[in-house]
Symmetry: C2
Subunit: 344 residues, 2 copies
DNA sequence: TTGTATGCGTTATCAT
DNA sequence: ATGATAACGCATACAA
């Protein structure tokens, strides 16, 4: 069962056609329109299929793409491959893509604007049928330019994207933060609560800060500027915040941290310095990554629904790729749920 | 600066040629052979470049691929996107690929033979210039068929791949296991050591088992079959082993676990049941994933060098893609280093 | 130095 | 129901 020709070249439809004694377009018809649109006699059908099998013919997607202007590929840009939050998202997208018989290109921007732009350039050069974006710095203007050039359906994670052609999957993290801080005050009785955020350039930064601020206001609690820190979403960033905290005489009784990775870094560094969480200080995170259930104390955090997010992103994209949906921006909300564990 | 034509179609070389007042092949020459092989007058050069800029022309990689039979893409199949061990590998490969101006398709087999075969099929249909494989079940025969069809350079991680055309990056995990178990006996004085492995179908399974067995033999220690468990590389698998351990009256004093994820699951479940690691039982893992430094007690484990592994895989592949290397199988070894921490 | 012609492997529009 | 023929966008052999 030779899968390639003796000369080492690929088996093409011409070869199949020759062996089957039919014309090359007939092979194409047998293989693609499986007797739906275009009729083909059962006899030639069998001849062709036999030849396909005998030669081990596989269609060449590159040629097909050039001809059809469709690639059967989608591209996915996540923000950080090391952040477990994105793993179920990526996996779910892959699963759904496969159900639609699409291949997936995954890239990680690692939260670098440079990488984000490179991704767009790469996708312009190598067109795909759809794009899923988890943008950090990418602006609506960037996305607008991208769409103008590619004419490709785009869906994104994060409500900061407001491009009229881009479906957006989002979670109400502002409200989730608000509720969680309210729980910290009302249920847990904390009155001195600090905040570990990220610079405003990171989309979730300002939103979660507002949720925090409003909850504190509602509770009639002052915000102590000395209890407000900035990190960078990473574990090491959390450790640095902890070191800065360790240098202070006055501590908050609880800390709201905008993502789990930083919260975990904080706890580890605090523990290394001999402190106890939550007795010395309570810590609450955001994301509910698997590590939150590994660290001791288990991390109290706000769960997002990454499988659901991945599913919504992928189905929204295929809705447009396959023409079931057109028109402007849809907003698809995913829930946030607070998960009380041991750290707060 | 219109980046696409009014009719919404892509800007092609023909458009550039028309605007610049030259022929389409001239545009091609200007853009590709940057005055190296084929000479082109500075004047037309400038005209062409101006037209390229004015129209926002971007080459179409699909057409180029069809013509050149090269794709400027490589495909990478890792074993489990959720396993942090593979993240630096994937990232390093991406970085190096970008330096070579290649795009990367990443897929995760999730340790499923089915997915592995699907990956091969997908890459046959959509040819790439090179393939990096982290095979779990894929056999040399599978790979042989794959290479026969695609004629594409392949490099793989794991010494169980012995195909003569495939460069292999590997670590001597058998010896690392042997040494680690030796350390457990000689340095830590353990005499009742158990083993948590995986079924033999998983490539590292038999090798690490042999390392364990030989170390026990050398130390003159018996292997108690009741202390030998099987998991599946996952955190939950580790928890299940722990539950099975909890049902036994007689315990080993130390457990060698073939990967960190299972070791961590084990520790968590044991702790949930009120036991102390390492006082009640010492645990040693393998991989040194980031979570090993998150769990308390920090996990004693064997570090591999994922960045180095990724670099070796990628450079080996590009050595062949770019023709610097030909001929048969190269073996590229990466070191293993035991990292004593708190769990053993 | 540049233009003409051809073909990569496929799908689609014609005929017949 | 099937066979010519053209075209997708590009790179290259050849001619000029």
């Amino acid at each position: 069962m030779p899968a390639q020709k003796p000369n080492g070249k690929q088996v093409t439809m011409r070869d199949v056609a020759r062996l089957a004694g039919v014309s090359q377009p007939t092979v194409s018809r047998v293989l693609n329109n499986s007797a739906t649109t275009i009729p083909v006699s059962e006899e030639t059908r069998q001849k062709v299929l036999a030849a396909v099998k005998a030669l081990g013919y596989r269609p060449n997607m590159t040629a097909r793409s050039l001809r059809t202007q469709r690639t059967q590929m989608i591209a996915v840009m996540i923000a950080d491959i090391s952040n477990a939050f994105y793993h179920p998202i990526a996996r779910t997208i892959q699963d759904i893509a496969r159900q639609h018989d699409y291949d997936v290109i995954i890239a990680s921007s690692d939260h670098q604007y440079d990488n984000e732009r490179h991704f767009c350039e790469a996708v312009i050069r190598r067109p795909v049928d759809g794009v899923i974006l988890v943008p950090t710095y990418l602006t609506d203007e960037d996305i607008d330019r991208f769409i103008a050039v590619t004419q490709t359906p785009v869906v994104a994670l994060g409500q900061h994207i407001t491009h009229p052609d881009v479906d957006v999957v989002w979670a109400n993290d502002e409200k989730a933060t608000f509720d969680a801080v309210g729980w910290l005050t009302a249920d847990r009785g904390h009155m001195r609560i600090g905040f570990v955020g990220v610079p405003d350039e990171f989309p979730p930064g300002p939103r979660r800060w507002w949720g925090f601020k409003q909850a504190m206001e509602l509770a009639g609690l002052p915000i102590n500027p000395a209890f407000v820190f900035q990190g960078d979403f990473t574990l090491d960033g959390g450790r640095q915040v902890a070191r800065s905290l360790l240098s202070k005489a006055d501590w908050p009784s609880a800390l709201f941290v905008v993502n789990d990775l930083m919260a975990i870094g904080l706890i580890l560094e605090l523990q290394d310095a001999g402190y106890n969480v939550p007795d010395d200080i309570a810590i609450m995170g955001f994301d509910n990554i698997p590590e939150a259930s590994i660290i001791r104390p288990h991390l109290t955090t706000i769960a997002q629904t990454p499988v659901d997010i991945g599913r919504k992103l992928a189905t929204a994209l295929f809705d447009r790729i396959e023409g079931r949906v057109s028109g402007s921006r849809r907003m698809l909300e995913c829930p946030c749920t607070m998960i009380p564990r041991q750290s707060a």
